[in-house]
Symmetry: C2
Subunit: 697 residues, 2 copies
């Protein structure tokens, strides 16, 4: 124990937020204000004070923010983060003898009149220094503390108060010794005046210090015996796009209208129209050479025909692996040109990182020890017995050569970062060793804190959350399969509230090349409208796989399958992007609304409201003054109507029955509403949703 430790009387508990006891970092974005709460108390009646200590992890010096007691020993502070990267925070608390002295002196002064020598003074103070606590208890505390050791007796106040002045003078001298320059001199002066006051014969005292003097002294607390919360809690601060992003996925090889294999040049030509739709992230499936061994044919058939292009996820051939580009797509220069064009359009290119190899991948020859070897000496292909996927070799993360393996996998990210890619969508991260991801993401961020990792982990909740905790910036979710009101409500509440929202950021996808849910197969165009509206307004990040989505592609590979018929994963497709039934206008409108309304750019302002119809869902999003109310018809086949039951407080509306106007950003119409109960009716094909701006009249 160091010499002051035994004299540190302040206890600091339960600092929040905290992810897994501070093992993992809390996530926020730059510019955020972070509220910190903690339970802080000391022994006895002495006043406690505390401050939040926070800093970027690389800096030496703490920054400080004051804590305020909210009652019942719960304290709160807040601070803002002005840079991306790693931050830490902790709490420091101390006994404030000066503030205790001020408090007691007030009582001594106030008591001058009431005091009748020889009589007990005052009753037990009911709530001294405490609020929102059982009054009996606190009363009882003072009661026992006083009565057991005898009732308070009083002498004539003056000498008592004079002595208190001298005590105060000592405390002020000490504050002065901790201050500098003008402050130090000022405090000395106050101390001096207290002392001379103590010498005077006075019958009735006034409180001797003005508020400035008190505040000045409080500026220089005695931290000699201060307590520190034992942990520095980690916080990771991302750039804004980590939270607010609109993703558009497409296969560059299908960017032509003729039957030919699309190139980066063709894909580049599509970027302006995608930017016009309002997307800011364009994500490509793997762009690497595709294996030929056991290549799959159209519709995932076992045998490929001549000319079949194969699955981009069967990575690697003689041309190279994860750092090479499929010949038919073009050259590294073509890719550079695409990235450059995208930047001009304020679009970021996101690449797919799928750590698995086709049998033709260079790693297979160069590092066979990175794969499982079977007793017959052959390399173990992917299996889910009795199913076999001989076109794929999974990596063996238990290899004795794991250090070199990790370095090589890391270098794949480093390579593409060097090519201007700062967003990666990671394929099935839950089938690779999680400690590898923890190390790899940290390693990338040491030099590139701006990099965003999206986890494509459709697996069990704890595993999905675990990947977010160890560093993934965003995660795919179960949204694709959450269709009913109660499912959507329960799930979105879970992933947008603490503790989950402190480390997990949802990215909602109504479809992907792997996921054509039955609802979209059977719901018609209205289903596609409904689901993209939900995705774009429920969470700050969402994405679609296009043009399949905006063109309402809905045929499954076979009944009961969620695979697309003629899936682009196995063949080229040509898309009629001029189709008059395309959802491009709706999607463009949604993305514009998202960009104009801060409420849709965060996840923490989501609240659900009542509406008297199971097929209608109502929810609002709020950020400061910006409030939007969404009402969506979940039934793609029938018009649904009902009465809202709005929480007016959540909407920032007057709690009386006054009228207010609601303006629908989708239809352009404006209605006069009042109170909580308002009639809504939504036609699934015409427009299955209201996106309402509220204005109190």
């Amino acid at each position: 124990m160091k010499s002051s430790e035994g004299r540190s009387r302040v206890i600091i508990e339960d600092v929040q937020p905290q992810v897994d006891c501070g093992v993992h970092a809390v996530k926020r974005i730059v510019g955020d204000t972070i509220k910190i709460s903690s339970v802080i108390y000391g022994d006895g009646h002495d006043h406690v004070d505390a401050r939040l200590c926070y800093r970027p992890a690389r800096e030496r010096e703490w920054r400080y923010a004051p804590f305020r007691e909210r009652g019942n020993d719960v304290w709160e502070a807040e601070f803002s983060v002005d840079a991306i990267g790693a931050w830490v925070y902790t709490v420091q608390g101390w006994i404030d003898h000066f503030s205790t002295w001020v408090h007691d002196l007030h009582k001594r002064i106030d008591a001058q009149e009431q005091l009748v020598p020889g009589e007990p003074a005052g009753g037990p103070e009911q709530n001294e220094g405490v609020t929102a606590v059982d009054e009996n208890t606190v009363a009882q505390e003072d009661f026992i503390a006083s009565k057991k050791v005898g009732v308070g007796i009083t002498t004539r106040p003056p000498n008592d108060i004079a002595l208190a002045f001298r005590t105060g003078a000592i405390l002020l001298d000490q504050a002065s010794s901790r201050a500098r320059g003008e402050d130090a001199r000022a405090l000395k002066t106050v101390a001096g005046s207290l002392r001379s006051l103590a010498e005077k014969k006075i019958d009735h005292y006034e409180f001797p210090l003005d508020e400035d003097a008190i505040q000045l002294a409080l500026k220089y607390p005695d931290l000699g015996f201060a307590s520190m919360f034992p942990k520095e809690l980690p916080l990771w601060v991302d750039r804004e796009r980590a939270q607010f992003s609109s993703w558009y996925e497409f296969f560059p090889r299908s960017s032509r209208t003729d039957e030919k294999h699309g190139t980066f040049a063709d894909a580049t030509a599509l970027l302006p129209s995608i930017a016009a739709m309002g997307f800011d992230v364009v994500y490509f499936p793997p762009i690497h050479p595709i294996g030929t061994a056991f290549r799959k044919g159209k519709n995932n058939s076992v045998v490929a025909e001549a000319g079949d292009v194969g699955s981009p996820w069967a990575i690697g051939n003689a041309d190279g692996g994860h750092k090479a580009i499929l010949r038919e797509l073009g050259t590294m220069q073509d890719f550079a040109a695409l990235v450059e064009r995208a930047e001009k359009l304020n679009i970021e290119i996101a690449l797919d990182i799928a750590f698995q190899c086709s049998p033709d991948h260079p790693w297979v020859k160069e590092h066979p020890e990175w794969f499982k070897i079977r007793p017959d000496g052959t390399i173990q292909y992917a299996e889910n017995p009795p199913k076999k996927y001989q076109d794929i070799y999974p990596i063996n993360f238990e290899t004795a050569d794991w250090r070199l393996l990790w370095k090589e996998l890391y270098s794949v990210f480093a390579f593409w970062i060097d090519k201007g890619v700062h967003i990666f969508r990671v394929d099935n991260p839950h089938t690779k060793a999680i400690p590898f991801w923890q190390w790899c993401i940290a390693e990338v961020r040491r030099s590139h804190p701006e990099v965003i990792f999206l986890a494509e982990a459709f697996t069990r909740p704890h595993v999905m959350y675990g990947l977010a905790k160890i560093g993934y910036t965003q995660s795919y979710t179960y949204f694709s399969w959450r269709l009913k009101k109660d499912e959507l409500t329960q799930y979105l509440q879970e992933i947008t509230s603490p503790p989950v929202s402190d480390f997990f950021r949802p990215n909602l996808w109504p479809n992907t090349p792997d996921i054509l849910v039955e609802f979209l197969q059977t719901g018609g165009r209205a289903a596609f409208m409904q689901r993209v509206i939900l995705a774009a307004t429920l969470a700050a990040s969402y994405g679609i796989y296009g043009p399949a989505y905006e063109l309402c592609e809905h045929l499954p590979a076979k009944p009961g399958s969620e695979e697309y018929l003629y899936s682009e994963k196995y063949q080229l497709r040509t898309w009629n992007r001029e189709d008059p039934n395309s959802l491009v206008p709706l999607i463009t409108q949604l993305n514009r609304i998202r960009h104009e309304h801060p409420a849709l750019q965060r996840n923490d302002g989501l609240r659900f409201h009542g509406v008297s119809n199971e097929n209608l869902i109502a929810y609002s999003k709020r950020s400061g003054e910006d409030v939007l109310l969404m009402i969506v018809n979940l039934d793609p086949h029938n018009t649904q109507s009902g009465w809202t039951d709005l929480s007016l407080a959540e909407l920032g509306l007057p709690l009386n029955d006054e009228t207010y106007s609601v303006h629908d950003l989708l239809s352009g119409e404006t209605y006069a509403w009042h109170g909580s109960y308002n009639y809504v009716e939504l036609h699934p094909e015409k427009m299955p949703a209201h996106v309402l701006v509220l204005r109190a009249d």
Copy 2:
């Protein structure tokens, strides 16, 4: 990173129970079975296994208990503690390649028939190795893992299975190398038979291993890459009395029926009657020399008259301090005789430790630096401005001499432990430095783990819980002021459920020498009956201050005060222990029931039930087969009746409307009840409660 670390693929999270992230110990009593849960998972489809590691903190070797998965990656294990003192536990998890192999081999064998060459085999396994998880998701997981890399193609099974046999043989050899003697040989044999089976030409395979062989191999898992939960979590195991105790407090100086000052000899003579009442802890207010400076007189008057005995909490005079005995009570030999007699009656003597001094305490002369010195050079007496308590000097825990101070305070416990005292009731611990208590309690327990500390902290909730966390065995509670049904229900649920019940043990007192609640002042004898029944049946530990309690002493010092008139704190009292209205018979009955019924000896079996009257409260306690149902009339003035609404499941009763008999342990009556709804009527003076044993007929 050590060479295996990168290859450890199992993640271990959220081990429960845990108090403040393992900073403080979970509390249990010897013989308890402790349930541990944890979230445990790995990447991909490989099977995970885990074991609980636990041991007494002093031992080197871990003991192990198996974990079982309860679904959704939540695992559970349990272990029993067979010794008091400090224990630790943690979790170890690993990938079980053998169990994965067994699982896959079953699927390979089962698939032999179904397989049609060239056709995909099976669908996505909906719930492989998972329960209670979103099915879409898990299906989707396999779906993507499979389909994106191509559908499974199948060759003829035999050679595939033969290869699997060879893989299994390798795993069995490895298990054999980790085993010894007979097990090692047996595993080698199984491996050999698998190998020879792999050589044979077989058209149809049966599963080759029997359950014994499988279990034998599972006994020797490969822990080479096992993961350890990073923390060893602390557990403190107390003796049973830490949880189950019945306390009786009295002033030994008032143990005579004449006007004379009672002695230890007089107190000893009372012990048999207290033992007959069924109490097992007798607690004395401070027995030390009492100061004369500013001594308080009768009824806490400011001026003491000649012969006034003073407050036992004004500790210390020329005869000594905390290690001395008040002359009038007798000698150390008399005290030893009392302790010895108590032991024979299976009663433990608990002493009051109040770390504060009268101005006459030897410490004041020997160690003035342990107190606050005022600017005029005098020692600071206790104050709650403007109230002064000049008969008491508080200790200054910020003294530069804190190390010596701590040692001396600790030595007070050591002194009385040496005299045979193993239970201490600590006076106002929340007005002394909490880090001191943490150190002192740990120091005492290093050599005396059997010692019990009861915290008399009537203060704010977080402070009371904080003292329990840093080591106090038991705590006074707000029970004295919890009178209404909803107050009792909410509060008892809070303190008997996790997380609070993992570190906080309530000791319920309907009265103390400081607390005569208004309800007892005005409620008459019925109020005293009701409150002691509640205290004795709601919690495993309770106590009364007698004979004031059993004699229904109810006059307050003044209106609105919770102080007793003629309080024993300031004067001698003589009590008529033969009073026919005494509650001794009821209390004797309650303590006998407590000793006969394990359900009343723990706090974790408490459940509240419905009853259709706000003045009636119904609750049950259960431990294994032992179930008691209490129904109490909270109105001391009127008969109250109503209908119960019992949770039959909680009571272990058939969920149908069958009749069962309830036997009232207080009245001796038996009733035939059926189902949840039964009529009850309770007369406050006759007997305000049912204590029912339930027997299904």
